[in-house]
């Protein structure tokens, strides 16, 4: 009898934690919005929502690629450096016009992704090591190509950075479109299924005859491309290419968004909605602390608390 109640209460606990992992991030966003509506002047304004959405766009786009990498039981530490490389290439090729420059920047990101994927899929280097190597190399390459900040004067880039349609900034539209596309790929395509199977168990996927290597390479190429797009967007917003500081610690923000969003680091599961909400949660947290002029170190501590809470929920669930 007592044993039975004990088991039931444990079950309840597991259920609560599961709910927390699945929906905690949305609850967190809702709470932060509520707090701000009450406490922050001018929070409820189109202008403010636009600002938050524009600021979160690059992190969100990078986090989409990161979610795929983590879902395949990997990780991509090179994303911040890919952003830097992307901004360098963009600046170097703007002479040919914005379209070509953006294309070159995205191809650059894909090439870094290809190198990541090849090291991981063919040589069998651990994702954390392979992408760490390209994180270092990518930043170096970016600085060789463009050693210092350079202004971007191209009118097309300026429009991309500050223009909007029906009050929604282009940058936000791009981020939302990419999120929908990635969510579709994960849920509705063979590739998505294969990715999750590989993330669950690579040996099993191999035995089942899935194209493990091809899928892994595509994952990192996509992650590189997304990071490059984020680099383009950040450049357009700043109207300057700054390879020294652009994308620094971006990998950590992206991993945080993914993990807080309920994607387990153990792979086999990808939650795109949660990832988007995770990025928004961090953005709102930072914005709240800045708007109320609290010490910047608090932001980092608050982020740490959120991460630990998210990982705790995921860990309990894994034990079940």
């Amino acid at each position: 009898m007592t044993e039975l109640t004990l088991r039931r209460s444990e079950l309840d606990r597991a259920r609560v934690l599961r709910l927390l992992q699945d929906y905690g991030v949305y609850a967190g966003v809702a709470v932060l919005i509520l707090v701000n509506v009450v406490l922050t002047p001018n929070f409820v304004s189109g202008e403010n929502f636009r600002t938050q959405a524009v600021q979160v766009a690059p992190v969100m786009i990078v986090a989409l690629g990161m979610a795929l990498a983590i879902g395949s039981q990997g990780i991509d530490l090179s994303v911040g450096s890919v952003m830097a490389l992307s901004t360098s290439l963009l600046s170097l090729y703007l002479g040919y016009g914005p379209w070509i420059a953006v294309l070159v920047a995205v191809i650059g990101g894909m090439v870094i992704g290809l190198a990541n994927g090849s090291l991981i899929a063919f040589i069998g280097v651990q994702p954390i090591v392979a992408t760490l190597a390209l994180m270092v190399a990518g930043r170096g390459l970016a600085l060789v190509l463009l050693p210092q900040l350079k202004d971007v004067r191209d009118p097309g880039m300026a429009t991309l950075g500050s223009g909007s349609v029906l009050g929604i900034p282009y940058l936000v539209l791009i981020a939302v479109a990419l999120a929908i596309a990635v969510a579709f790929v994960v849920r509705r395509t063979t590739f998505g299924r294969q990715l999750l199977a590989i993330g669950d168990s690579r040996p099993a996927a191999q035995l089942a005859g899935l194209p493990v290597r091809r899928v892994l390479i595509i994952v990192y190429v996509v992650s590189g491309a997304l990071a490059a797009v984020a680099g383009v967007i950040a450049t357009a917003r700043l109207t300057a290419s700054d390879p020294t500081s652009l994308g620094t610690l971006m990998e950590l923000s992206a991993i945080t968004a993914v993990v807080v969003g309920g994607t387990p680091l153990s792979g086999g599961r990808v939650r795109i909605g949660g990832t988007v909400a995770g990025a928004v949660l961090i953005q709102l947290l930072t914005a709240t602390l800045i708007k109320h002029d609290l010490p910047p170190s608090w932001t980092q501590i608050a982020q740490a608390v959120v991460i630990v809470a998210a990982v705790y929920a995921a860990r309990e669930r894994g034990k079940r």
Binding site: E47, N48, Q55, V111, L114, Q148, S245, P296
Partner: protein, 367 residues
């Protein structure tokens, strides 16, 4: 188990992939075509001539000095000496670029052999850089220290060999004339005070202002903040500092933080940015929020060409200069010292300022 043939193929594929990335690196440089800048502003940056430093502090007399006899080294002729220069950060921002260029230009001008090293913002690397420079035969050292503390081991090695050291832009916490000879640099507290003066003038000494702080835990940040706040408190008690957030000396952070600021606080009448880059980020934020030039008064510190251009365009009210062209003064100090004459232990340079009055005419002095 994989067969050798398979392994070989794998290796080839990876090689192809890595080769691709490498070729990207090479071609990227080769066929690049960037936007036209208008002017060749990257050239002759930091070259001496106009914009060289002027000493402000040692008005002779009571200032502490140092001679080569006190230091315990032997006289030598600078022309035949080897000078080692240890730079702290990568030359990726205008200040460091101008600083290194100025040291190199002056060495070339005087025909002195110069060895250089760059610590890439890692203190441990700077320590070994300096040890390397000594091992390579530097007779004199010019150091732009990354930190003020932690120089014990290096200074002991240098003073055992009686190598005179001049530190530039940041001071070392150690005994002048014993562990090192002189420090040449700006007074960051004074820069903050002068920025405050400009802000008081711009706002009429009333209203609310914000500070975009530099990187946390950096003495430049602390001192530029202290000078600014002290002066505001003393001269314009009606001017309130209502917002202090770090922009980490970067344009992007300066922009993001300013965007948050102007939405939640529409009454802000001035922004003090502790370097030009954050100030330029604030300008971008104000522009995209639909503000007009001059709506919010921006005062920055550094004196880079982009910021001074910002004054000409009306977006920035004033820039307090922090002069990076240490070359002439550093070599002049070494020359005087090695001849056996006395030099000051603390050489504070006179920084100028840019306002709407002189921005256009002095634009060429900006770095």
């Amino acid at each position: 188990m994989k067969s050798t043939a398979q392994l070989g193929r794998t290796a080839v594929r990876t090689l192809v992939a890595t080769g691709l990335s490498l070729s990207l690196a090479l071609t990227a440089g080769a066929c690049a075509k960037s936007e036209d800048d208008g002017g060749s502003k990257d050239k002759d940056k930091g070259a001496s001539g106009d914009g060289g430093q002027v000493v402000s502090s040692p008005s002779a007399g009571n200032a502490k000095t140092c001679t080569i006899d006190q230091f315990g080294a032997e006289k030598l002729d600078l022309k035949n000496a080897t000078v080692g220069f240890s730079q702290s950060e990568k030359e990726a921002n205008p200040f460091r670029i101008a600083e290194t260029a100025s040291i190199k230009a002056e060495a070339k001008k005087r025909g002195v052999k110069l060895l250089t090293a760059n610590a890439q913002s890692q203190f441990s690397k700077q320590i070994s850089d300096v040890q390397d420079l000594i091992a390579k035969g530097a007779d004199l050292l010019v150091i732009a220290p990354l930190n003020s503390d932690g120089w014990g081991p290096v200074l002991r090695a240098a003073s055992a060999k009686k190598i005179p050291i001049v530190t530039i832009d940041r001071k070392i916490n150690s005994k002048a004339c014993k562990d090192y000879v002189s420090f040449i640099g700006s007074d960051f507290v004074e820069q903050g005070k002068r920025a405050a003066d400009q802000m008081i003038e711009a706002t009429g000494g009333k209203g609310e202002v914000a500070i975009l702080l530099g990187a946390p835990g950096n003495n430049v940040t602390t001192e530029r903040t202290k000078g600014f706040k002290d002066r505001i408190k003393a001269k314009a008690p009606d001017l309130k500092v209502v917002f202090e957030q770090t922009g980490e000396f970067s344009r992007e952070k300066g922009q993001s933080v300013t965007e948050q600021l102007i939405q939640s606080n529409s009454k802000i009448s001035g922004i003090y940015a502790e370097n030009d880059e954050m100030g330029l980020g604030a300008v971008t934020a104000l522009k995209s929020a639909g503000k007009k030039a001059g709506d919010v008064k921006i005062v920055t510190v550094d004196g880079t060409r982009n910021a001074v251009q910002g004054i000409v365009d009306g977006w920035i009210h004033g820039v307090v200069e922090s002069n990076p062209r240490f070359g002439p003064l550093a070599f002049q100090t070494l020359d005087t010292f090695t001849k056996g004459e006395k030099v000051a232990q603390d050489i504070v340079i006179q920084d100028s300022a840019y306002t709407e009055k002189n921005a256009e005419s002095d634009l060429s002095k900006a770095y």
